[in-house]
Symmetry: D3
């Protein structure tokens, strides 16, 4: 999606121009991984027009592999944003009717080929929400990924308003989550989609893992919203070994609130592939998410060294010369 | 529609921000009339969201009457533009799927009330193209306008790609044009919509007037495209009294190519209401269109004094102090 | 007035451009009311030149009724601003010599006609300060408003330096305040203009109400200046029923410090017309003022829903999607 | 004066920011001379506020000597500009009521000291127009300059609207021009101020020189206004030796129309001090003026090498690497 | 190299910011080929710092293969530019001392591997100029390219000031040009480097081909510099079959003068690989170069369709909708 | 040096433009003194090109005396900066290879003449680090300053990476510091350069003063880095009379982190020349440094009145009208 952001703290009707960036759940995870030095590909459909090509060029710049991006009929999904401050929240207007991605065909992608050299497959709950064919493509990809032995992660990320094609999240998501090894899921998502009513993260995670036997771990961030400019962020994780938390990061002032969850996921994937230490992985993922809040755009442009510095609390007024 | 324009001469993939303006055939005519001191109202449907309200605020600023604007479901129509120069043409990507305007209902507007104090009704061929209900609303408005004795003008403005709801322009437009007193129509439009095959403007106009007995006059601009930065523009007019032309205006360098036809129409309406002299009206309309090419945005922000100065060839490097 | 603001945190001598907005005590209240859905008109004189027309267009955009704005000789009042941060205060250079508004004539406005459909009249202490004829026009308006039974409010807003035409505030203001139902007045204003020496808001308010029998209520905001970027704000109110306070709002970081009092007044007017609950009205007014500090420009561009959200402490880092 | 310019080709009511530069007849000549390597001082009064200091800092940057600038009461003179293009002229709104300069006192400047090391004194017809005391200071300076044997030049530059203090140009200017060695004067100026009615430059110059025995030469530029973007410029000169013309320079496209006359004057002064060849001096002055039209701001930022390159017609698309 | 350009028509000392783009002879050819749909790789050394990585990201965005870019010690080469207009030429300040590229080692690149799948190798005379090791790497690459049977082209592009390491162009270039199939060479270059004194392009080309038996063709563009904003451009070509010329393209107004030669070369390579028609290839190459002048930045961002449209003279004021 | 800063909080690879300012240790002190009303000159070498002249013009604007600036071969030193926020540190890429300043010759400056009217000489540890000739010039200047009886201050400011010409700081700095009356020195600098190992500021200062008998005082700021946006700053001072501290200033949010030490030094010089009260001088110096953090650019643009206001804790949300 193209994000069109009003400059500074302008309201939409004050803006005479809009900043352009591009993002989207899966794309954000791919791009953040590329900045962490992990080869990552993004697989999607962009419209066959100047805007679709501009979007692809934007992602090429991040260093992700864009060879599997297809071009087809439909629009480029958009969202418009004005950025809040203090006691004024940010506002977003989504505009993704009839996106090229929603128009994808089940056979648009040759998953066997695409995933042949991959280790990990990540998807979000946005994808199956936008159209029946997108849900089908997602299911196909998951089946192939499972067959090829990839680790599979998902960000459940429930947005009720997106499910407009006659199915509900509860109809589709269970069949997809059953392929996953690890998911990001909040208590609200668990209730809305999977009917798991509880106010306790650990209880929710346990019951998710019971419902989905392949699922080995549930992770999330806990966010305290002190103001639009000041949050506190803690990573949480539950699996067979129990519950752990990351240190808490103080986010003040927040530069860009979008994509914190995707940065967390990318940090988790990096840590999982690198550390063999869950506590460190969770701390890295949360530090990555924290750092994302200080970076403009939808995804985390931070190197491993930068995340580790943030992780170690070296939040440094010190200049890096 | 919101227009999102790449800055300067940037290509879409170079742009990191897009300038915002708003326009649309009928809105451009209304706004230009307001700048000419003629009270004008714009009647449309904007989406019930922050962008729809920002669009309405934009038009309020021009001084047009926005009281009849409705808010409803659907998107704000968009178009993206990169501006050409010299031998590089400008490029536009339209994005008006599912606009709030296309979703209007035939009873959205109470035309009797809206038109009760009006003298003139203007519409364009874009309106009946976007949906059956928009075409119906257009027909209703025309019937009411005729009953109330308004002068009726149209810009035929054929865009084949817009007619997507199962009807062709040729099915719908004749029934609407028959209400008109004066239209802007090109030879190409006449062929594509009305089946009038000719390479001569006068011949086309004569045959249009035969086909539509209410139609008293056909006007247009003739444009020589020397480059994206340099055009020459002449107003042409045919009616029962015969054919006349305006002086030719040299447009160099062109600041903004959009909305030249709408500025011409607004100038024609102003002249018709003011001058009682067709030759002067045509010269005024063409000068207004010429001046529009020197002004950023979709519509002509020129006062009567400014148009008359341009009309008199006082194109002055002289500073107005 | 046109406000010309140095970008970001630049000093005047660093700036190579200045941002434009427009404001002024009464105009800010009108515009804020329009955003709250209350029809409001602004009555003033702008210069008969391109800048005067640009100012009027700016206010048209807010949705306020600009039909009563007159154009005459004189300048557009200006002020230049550089924005402070932390321990660096903002700086303002006023430039309103010989404004068109100061040149208004007592008969410039037909108050009977202008106020015929109104419910409320609001003025500020700036108006009678700029010229004898402005003071006279203000007195005329107040007399008419009283005759027509409007509620009358004022922001006393004493600026010693403005009173240059041979009269002092103490000569003129009492004769105007005596028409008021409610005023914004600080302890300092009461001492400087009305000779009421006290360090206690309630005492001051009681004595003002004794001095002006029509005056039913005195309101104000109490501001703690922690830094240029961080204030705390509490609304206070005294009337026959005694003294009440609003909750305290934490303003950090401040986006734009100008117009907090006008937003408070507009919130108070909205609440008075809507709630029939003084405590809620005061909280709404103070929340509106708080929210203004997060919005660029001189006036509050916040909807009722947004003010109520702020009022309820839902200062949300949460995105509004 | 501070110049506030709408960006690009925006109209005033479109602009959300204004570019800042500073200029003024005499200041422009000083600054242009500094860029040509000629030590030059500017003598004026700026207001005692942040804007006055910013203006002085701006001129310090050009390298002119600003030690004689005084600070006093009054405003900084302003002018607002929107830039035309093609057949749309530029527009200027002057705003110099009550400038600090108009408030200068006859004894503000110690001319003997200021001019002690100078070779040349230049003034314009703007100075005596703004106030009686400014006219008096101008006369004092001229008397001193004459006593000290400086060469004296003036740009007559008649602006009727500026003469508001009870005197007409015709009352004051003759007493000042009589001190001059060389002036820039147009046929229109000669008629309006000095009552010399003629349509011929040579005739006018001859009669001026008859009227003012000290006056040895009259110079000017002849401008063909093809459009706001395209002019042609020729320097003309008349003195006891007869009439000469410079080559004609084609100005397309014009970047900034302001200050062409001041650049011409500065070029003339440079040439007079350097070349001992009137034809070359006139060509240099006209080339300097031509080059100014390609440079943003009020004065010519061109080195001697650059002017000579333009003078030799090396208008080079060639890059200077 | 990073190019830092003063905005609009500002002089260096006016600029408060500089636009960033990246370019360089070979990189520009690669990028232009990528926009024409021809897979292309760029082989260079960037500094091992944030700027080097930003440069690489920039080129990734164009779609060229950046896998062979190395990172090493040294600076990122820079150049600063102010853009001329009309009779004011553009100015460039080069700043490429000690670039990372100049520090490359002869074994930095494994040419056999890099060129294994390639069809064409292109280099410019800049490369051997910057250091002995760069000249050596160039020679190695050429030898390998020859062995692998690639077509080899060069842009001779003589810049005397660059040859600072103790060798002259005349010492080194002949040994490199002898590998080439086709070169861009001007009469001046031929004289300065190869000692071929002639004022006739065909004569020069014939003698170059005699001197270098492998050389089959010499191409160039002939440019008429009417002003900094207006040039005329014609492609010329000489080989065994004789001399041909392309149509002449009128470039007005020029948006960005840099990289015209590289766009010509890229167009020539595209045409050679595609058309099997030298006349059409030359017209395509010249049209590509012409179009480049209308595009910001160092390289041509034009598709094949766009170049062909320009080639057919369809320079259209017509909007592409 | 020219500083090129990515806008807002952009990363280098996001930036499409870079803001320009100029600075450098000694230049920053000079400029800050000029804003405090103390005549100050900056003595350096800039390159003989457009960039060198633009740098000099920039410093002329501050009001410092630039007559002693020389122009010579070599580059303009650069540094690139991206600005951190919260837990993301700022990053700087230095690029000062082969600067014109490093190329200065020992006889470039006639110190006797330059220093003839001066009271105070200030230098930093950057100067002797860049080249042997710079170190020599520094030594020459110090000897002359001592002879002429100037007060001498230094900011030791050790940057290991700069010492590339074969000498270490420990070889050179002692011979220069022995001329100083007062220095800014941190514990780390004392250890790295002078071999004084201690963790206590007072102990370090005492031992420095023992090692350098002319040295009468050591000053510094103590900084708590809470985040990139929030620091706390305290001035410290040790001399024969013992140890004193300034009040602590809370810096939140930080606008520009660069040049805090130079602002401190300038404040110290101002105070020393003005107050005859060390405690007040230290408070003034620290307040000046604190205020610098709220101002964009490398040096402190604050008047005495502004520093005193900050010193008195009047950090005022209050507007200065």
């Amino acid at each position: 999606m193209m994000r069109l952001t009003a400059p500074g703290r302008q309201r939409f009707s004050q803006a005479t121009q809009l900043g352009i960036t591009y993002g989207g759940g899966e794309a954000n995870v791919s791009a953040a991984l590329a900045y962490l030095g992990i080869p990552a590909a993004h697989v999607t459909v962009f419209p066959e027009n100047d805007l679709g090509r501009a979007a692809a060029a934007f992602f090429q710049k991040t260093g992700i592999d864009t060879r599997h991006i297809q071009y087809g009929p439909g629009r480029l999904g958009l969202y418009f944003m004005e950025t809040g401050e203090g006691l004024r929240p940010s506002r977003i207007v989504y505009d993704r009717y009839e996106s090229a991605f929603a128009h994808l065909q089940p056979d648009t992608f040759d998953w066997k080929n695409i995933l042949s050299d991959a280790q990990w497959f990540h998807w979000t709950g946005i994808t199956p929400a936008v159209s029946a064919s997108a849900a089908q493509a997602c299911a196909d990809a998951l089946r192939t990924a499972r067959q090829l032995g990839l680790t599979i992660s998902a960000d459940v990320n429930y947005r009720r308003v997106l499910w407009q094609y006659g199915k509900k999240a509860g109809d589709i998501m269970p069949g997809l989550v059953e392929y996953c090894d690890v998911i990001v899921c909040t208590i609200g998502d668990a209730a809305d989609i999977f009917g798991i009513q509880t106010t306790d993260f650990q209880d929710m995670a346990r019951r998710m893992m019971e419902q989905f036997p392949n699922l080995k771990r549930v992770i999330a961030t806990r966010r305290e919203n002190l103001s639009a400019s000041h949050n506190r962020l803690t990573g949480v994780c539950f699996d067979a070994a129990g519950y752990i938390e990351s240190p808490t990061f103080d986010l003040q002032p927040i530069v860009d609130r979008i994509g914190g969850g995707d940065a967390f996921m990318a940090g988790y994937i990096y840590g999982s592939l690198t550390f063999n230490n869950l506590q460190r992985t969770l701390a890295f993922a949360t530090a990555a998410s924290a750092l994302k809040h200080m970076i403009e755009g939808d995804f985390n442009m931070a190197s491993v060294a930068e995340v580790e510095q943030a992780m170690q609390g070296d939040v440094a007024g010190r200049l890096l010369r």
